[in-house]
């Protein structure tokens, strides 16, 4: 009798050397894996749960200011250095890595209205309610030389300041928009349009001669530094508080408005915003783009930060803590990993840009696992159980109730409009897009 045995060639399953990886023979025939989708679903579910488990975005707070933080500026060359100006005229330089204040200076009497750094980071400029622009030297370690390099006296109060992205030029806003050169004491050029003051000014980081400003007559005004007149203005229903340009798309900018919303515009078509971002329940005070240009962060009087994808009208994330009061200024760090907020209760806070991201060096296997989990979450994002977990956020009672109230208000408004439309002559009550409703006029 012959005995037939199954035998395998050891070469098929043995490692050649001890350091070699284990051979795992696989048959990828889908017929042999009838439950692949189901198993991946379970993996996706677990990944989503873990993401929520590890979502701890708050990294720390920086205290030291003796009044509310009013303005903030990133160091253009060193991601760990941050400059902040307070309502009592004090400017502080922070080291984010050490969570320490490196130096401080009493820059102005009254508010520090604006602060901006020169492109190489060797000095920075501040302007205050005392009608003075001061330029300060900054050492690479983040130390301020106690005397300003230059002091320029203006005729009116400056409300905002921003530096050109490459040239030796900066712009201030107030009763008019002035373009200055660092080595001159008189503005090179001044723009006026109407009588209202301009409370915010920002240079376009891509097309660097273009500026955008927010005026107190509820308008957003665009300027070209090279021309003699402003470019265009659009008037919204309520005032815009801040403006941020998309660093990757030259013509896109977003404004933070008093009507709880943010509006993203294409500067070539101001008659209608590209999208309206709504989730805040109070006035939005500041907005800043991520350096990748895919997302932006906003914060305001509802004591929370929200992160919006540029093309979505609702936020993907909300950050809040019990102690954080009205947030007046928020910035996204230049390496796309952190968000810094400054609020009325004199603190700066550091947050992670992605709440559950593991910071620091990752092993290749870890990296692969994270990437795989991300893709799984994306793939199964529409499944109700996964969406439910991924969407869930805890919010303070104040925000929860306010959201509910706003929802009711909006609902009733809609209902009223629908009723009006139903009971009037067809065509007399036209359908207007929600995002267009807030635009009052596009003035040329």
């Amino acid at each position: 009798m012959r005995i037939k045995v199954l035998c395998r060639n050891p070469d098929d399953y043995l490692r050649e050397t001890k350091r070699d990886i284990h051979r795992v023979p696989r048959n990828y025939d889908p017929g042999l894996h009838p439950f692949e989708a189901n198993r991946e679903y379970v993996r996706a579910l677990n990944a989503t749960k873990l993401e929520r488990v590890f979502a701890k975005p708050f990294l720390g707070s920086l205290d030291g200011h003796r009044d509310g933080v009013h303005c903030m500026c990133k160091h253009p060359r060193s991601p760990s250095v941050l400059l902040s100006g307070a309502c009592d005229g004090e400017v502080r330089i922070w080291n984010l890595a050490k969570k320490k204040c490196m130096s401080q200076v009493q820059a102005h009497e009254g508010f520090v209205q604006g602060i901006c750094s020169v492109p190489d980071g060797s000095s920075f400029l501040t302007c205050g309610t005392d009608k003075i622009i001061k330029q300060w030297r900054l050492s690479p370690e983040g130390l301020i030389y106690s005397d300003p390099v230059s002091t320029t006296l203006g005729k009116t109060v400056f409300q905002g300041i921003d530096h050109h992205w490459s040239a030796n030029t900066f712009a201030t806003s107030g009763e008019q928009v002035d373009i200055w050169e660092e080595d001159r004491s008189e503005p090179v050029r001044s723009f006026t349009w109407g009588v209202d003051s301009i409370n915010y000014i920002k240079f376009n980081p891509v097309e660097r001669h273009i500026l955008g400003g927010c005026a107190s007559d509820r308008s957003i005004i665009l300027y070209d530094m090279r021309g003699s007149t402003p470019l265009r203005k659009v008037i919204l229903k309520l005032r815009s508080n801040a403006l941020a340009w998309n660093p990757m798309e030259a013509f896109v900018f977003t404004v933070a408005n008093e009507d709880y919303n943010l509006y993203t515009f294409d500067m070539r078509n101001l008659a209608m915003p590209l999208s309206m971002h709504m989730d805040h329940v109070s006035a939005v005070m500041d907005v800043d783009y991520s350096p990748t240009g895919r997302e932006f962060v906003s914060a305001g009087y509802d004591k929370c930060l929200r992160i919006f994808p540029v093309d979505k009208s609702h936020s993907r994330e909300i950050y809040h803590t019990k102690r954080m009061q009205r947030v007046s200024v928020v910035r996204w760090s230049l390496d796309n990993k952190f968000i810094i907020s400054g609020s009325d209760e004199m603190n700066l806070r550091i947050w992670k840009a992605h709440a559950s991201e593991k910071l620091g060096a990752l092993k290749p296997r870890e990296k692969t696992a994270f990437n795989y989990n991300e893709k799984l979450k994306e793939k199964f994002a529409h499944h109700p159980q996964i969406r439910r977990i991924a969407r869930h956020r805890h919010v303070p009672k104040m925000i929860y109730n306010a959201t509910k109230e706003l929802r009711t208000i909006k609902k009733s408004q809609k209902k009223k409009e629908a009723n009006r439309r139903a009971h009037s002559k067809p065509g007399t009550v036209p359908m207007v897009a929600e995002k267009k409703k807030s635009i009052v006029e596009d003035v040329d």
Binding site: M1, R2, K4, D11, L14, E16, R26, Y28, P30, H33, E36, A37, R39, E40, Y41, R43, R77, P79, W165, P205, V206, E207, I210, L222, G227, S228, T229, P230, L231, R232, P247, M248, E249, A250, F251, M267, R268, P291, T292, G293, R294, L334, D335, N336, K337, L359, G360, T368, N371, Y372, E374, K375, L376, K379, A381, H382, H383, P384, Q385, D444
Partner: protein, 784 residues
């Protein structure tokens, strides 16, 4: 008005040629008078110099009747011929005179400026559209976008950039540029060659040219060949190359022997020295680290095994005493002539020494020839002892084997010296012999009991192998004849040289036996033979296929028999069988031999007995029918008995009414298990699962199938190869902690794009469009 008057006066002035200074004084006086009464209208104060050129600015717009018209003035000059030029000038003035509009108010002017500036800026910004679109759609973006380039500089690139600076470089450059002998890629001939051609006559030139061309072509061929030869990675190929080279060297050596005996001696000495060195060192005998490692890897790696073999071969070659050369050497010198026996002894002793070394492949063949058959026989015997077989048959078997072996040996020994035809006939005769014997054994096999089958199988195998071997011999017949002829020629040459005949024949014989050994070893599958793997594999395959073929047939018949038995024994109602399509799977795997048919049958019987009463099939089909009927929507009968008709017990509503008032159920789509006999597929919705399922079609998908497919396609490493997995999980955005991401840089983006368009990349239509747009905007700049 006053201005008009003044003009009038001026013209009069001109016409009358009065004194200029008086007029000026008069004007000043008038001014003084007018300024006295406080009316501060400014007047033009003209310096009136007498000239033929008339300023056009002094002619104001005449809206009043009292103003002097130009034609009136010119009319007065009608008769005077001397004012022709003046008239002409006035005419041109009249023609060109277009009054500029008054400037717009400031706010309007600014508005227009703003509109123009805004439109221009908007247009300028359009160059970003393709870039933005590309970035938005990009599968993956790695930030910062401007990564440093790690491109290697090519030689051509360097040459193109190179600028001679130092005096030496300058000198060389001057020489190079000035030389007429530099070939250029575009032109066929260099400057110098052209000149030379010009100097020659036509025929010469043609010939020369052809020669040159040929030379160049040959050069390029050679270049190309050496290039690709250099690229070949095959060790086998390089070994062949080396062998060839060595052969050539040997030939050259032989040549040298005749032509240059001194150099030949030198060479020999060198070879001897090499041999000594080799004997001293362990270089090729597993002494080096590399070879030790290779030895370890040899277990798993074919290449390593090969390299070990090569090394050993090399060492053997190096250590070998060049006997034939030495022979010839001694002969030429007329020294000691080695005896036949002595040589044989020496070889024998060598063989013995070598026999201990498992790596020494060649000499073992010699001894194996004699050992093999006995070993084989003994193996058979032991086999038979283990099994229960009659003695007589064992003897028979062994006899046959030994006979076969003997025949083979005879053949091997004899055939060498004979002529081909004879050999062929021999082979055929032996073949027939063997075949007959095979038949005989086969017949006996059939008669014999089943338990002996396996042994007989072995026997059969032997016969098969022998037959196949004969086939091989026949195939290689021509080849061998050729080699024989060559050998004969060689022999003749040697005779001429004066070697003793007997010696050579003995040597030849030995060689031949060696060759035969080689062939036998192919069959014995000895790893230590110097044979290529392919050959061995071919052989194995042939044996296997020969072996497996008849077995399959027997098996089939067996299966058929068992099937028949089964049909008789197991009770199945033939009418209640499901109609199932038989799937024929094409597999290359042969069916497994089943020797335990009896056991199987027994098991089947017991199962049949155990489930004798269960009519499972009937039950199942009934269940299925029930479910089908249950889920079918039923007609709704709305007839009211007695409505519009007589009612009461025993009275049925009329057929017409029933038909009228029944609502027919809509036709049901066919069930999914309609054509599947042995399954029931539930088509009811599962509420428990519904909460986990997607209710609406998500945005980018256009159909449910699409979405389902996207969900079905797995991403994980478990179901997808590693490379595909890596590609699938690529994150859309990659950023690094602490790495500053600068805003997109206009100059760099468009510089790159310009570069790409320059260096032939028409596939990127967007970018081209972008550059066009940019160009247009530039044009716009020029126009405005």
């Amino acid at each position: 008005m006053e201005a008009d008057i003044e003009n009038e006066e001026d013209i009069k002035d001109l016409s009358d040629n009065e004194d200029v200074f008086d007029e000026k004084k008069h004007n000043q006086l008038l001014d003084a008078i007018t300024s006295l009464d406080g009316n501060k209208t400014k007047r033009f104060s003209h310096r009136t110099i007498v000239s033929k050129e008339i300023s056009e600015f002094s002619f104001g717009k005449s809206g009043d009747d009292r103003r002097v018209k130009l034609y009136e003035l010119v009319g007065t000059l009608k008769d005077s011929a001397s004012h022709g030029t003046l008239k002409k000038q006035l005419k041109t003035v009249a023609r060109r005179n277009k009054v500029l509009p008054s400037p717009l108010p400031r706010h309007q002017k600014e508005k227009i400026e703003r509109v123009v500036a805004y439109e221009k800026t908007s247009k300028d910004l359009c160059i970003w559209d393709p870039v933005v679109e590309q970035n938005r759609k990009a599968e993956q973006l790695k930030f910062p976008l401007q990564q440093p380039s790690f491109k290697l500089q090519t030689t051509d690139g360097f040459v193109a950039k190179f600028q001679p600076r130092t005096p030496l470089e300058l000198e060389i450059a001057a020489l190079l540029r000035g030389s007429k002998n530099i070939p250029s890629k575009k032109k066929e001939l260099t400057q110098a060659e052209k000149e030379a051609l010009r100097a020659m006559n036509l025929d010469e030139a043609k010939a020369r040219r052809a020669e040159l061309q040929k030379h160049r072509a040959l050069l390029s061929y050679k270049e190309a060949k050496s290039r690709w030869q250099k690229k070949i990675k095959s060790k086998n190929y390089h070994r062949h190359l080396r062998k060839e080279r060595q052969k050539k060297e040997m030939k050259a050596l032989e040549e040298m022997e005749k032509t240059d005996p001194d150099a030949y001696q030198e060479k020999l000495k060198q070879l001897e020295k090499e041999r000594i060195e080799e004997r001293m060192s362990l270089k090729h005998r597993g002494g080096s680290k590399y070879s030790q490692k290779q030895m370890i890897y040899a277990k798993y790696d074919k290449q390593a095994r090969q390299s070990v073999q090569d090394m050993i071969q090399m060492s053997r070659e190096l250590r070998q005493k060049t006997i034939p050369l030495a022979d010839s050497d001694t002969e030429s010198e007329g020294g000691v002539i080695m005896d036949k026996e002595d040589a044989a002894n020496m070889e024998d002793s060598e063989l013995h020494v070598v026999d201990d070394n498992p790596w020494m492949a060649r000499p073992i063949a010699h001894t194996a020839l004699y050992k093999k058959p006995q070993a084989f026989v003994s193996a058979v015997i032991t086999d038979n002892v283990n099994g229960t077989v009659h003695d007589g048959e064992i003897k028979d078997d062994t006899l046959i084997n030994s006979q076969n072996e003997n025949i083979l040996d005879d053949l091997d020994n004899d055939s060498n010296d004979r002529h081909e035809n004879e050999r062929e006939s021999d082979i055929t005769s032996i073949k027939t012999n063997i075949e007959e014997k095979g038949k005989y054994t086969k017949t006996r096999m059939r008669k014999g009991s089943q338990s002996k089958k396996s042994d007989l199988g072995n026997e059969e195998l032997d016969i098969e192998t022998i037959l196949s071997k004969f086939d091989k011999i026949e195939n290689s017949k021509n080849e061998s004849s050729e080699t024989k002829k060559r050998k004969k020629r060689k022999r003749k040459r040697k005779n001429k040289k004066g070697l003793q005949k007997e010696e050579t024949t003995s040597q030849e014989k030995k060689k031949k036996t060696n060759e035969v050994d080689h062939e036998e070893n192919l069959i014995s599958e000895d790893l230590q033979r110097k044979k290529t793997l392919e050959e061995i594999e071919d052989l194995n395959y042939g044996v296997d296929s020969d072996d497996s073929q008849p077995r399959k047939g027997t098996e089939d018949t067996k299966n058929g028999e068992t099937l028949k038995k089964n049909t008789k024994e197991v009770y199945v109602d033939p009418k209640k069988l499901f109609k199932l399509e038989t799937k024929i799977l094409q597999t290359s795997v042969p069916d497994v031999v089943s020797d335990d048919d009896l056991n199987d049958d027994r098991q089947r019987i017991t199962i049949a007995q155990a489930f004798a009463d269960d009519d499972v099939i009937e039950e199942f089909s009934r269940e299925k029918r029930e479910i089908r009927d249950q889920q079918k929507p039923k007609d709704i009968n709305l007839t009211l008995p007695g409505w519009g008709d007589w009612g009461g017990e025993g009275i049925e509503p009329s057929k017409k009414k029933r038909k009228k008032f029944t609502i027919k159920a809509p036709p049901v789509p066919p069930r999914r298990d309609k054509n599947l006999g042995n399954v029931i597929i539930s088509e009811a919705k599962d509420k428990a699962i519904a909460s986990h399922q997607v209710s609406n079609l998500p945005f980018p998908y256009t159909s449910v199938e699409q979405f389902e497919q996207s969900i079905q396609a797995p991403i994980g490493k478990t179901w997808v190869p590693e490379t595909a997995f890596k590609r699938l999980i690529k994150p859309a955005i990659v950023t690094r902690l602490g790495k500053i991401i600068d805003p997109i840089d206009k100059s760099q983006v468009f510089q790159n794009q310009a570069h790409t368009t320059k260096t032939r990349k028409p596939s990127k239509g967007k970018i081209i469009r972008a550059t066009e747009k940019a160009k247009k905007s530039n044009e716009f700049d020029v126009h405005s």
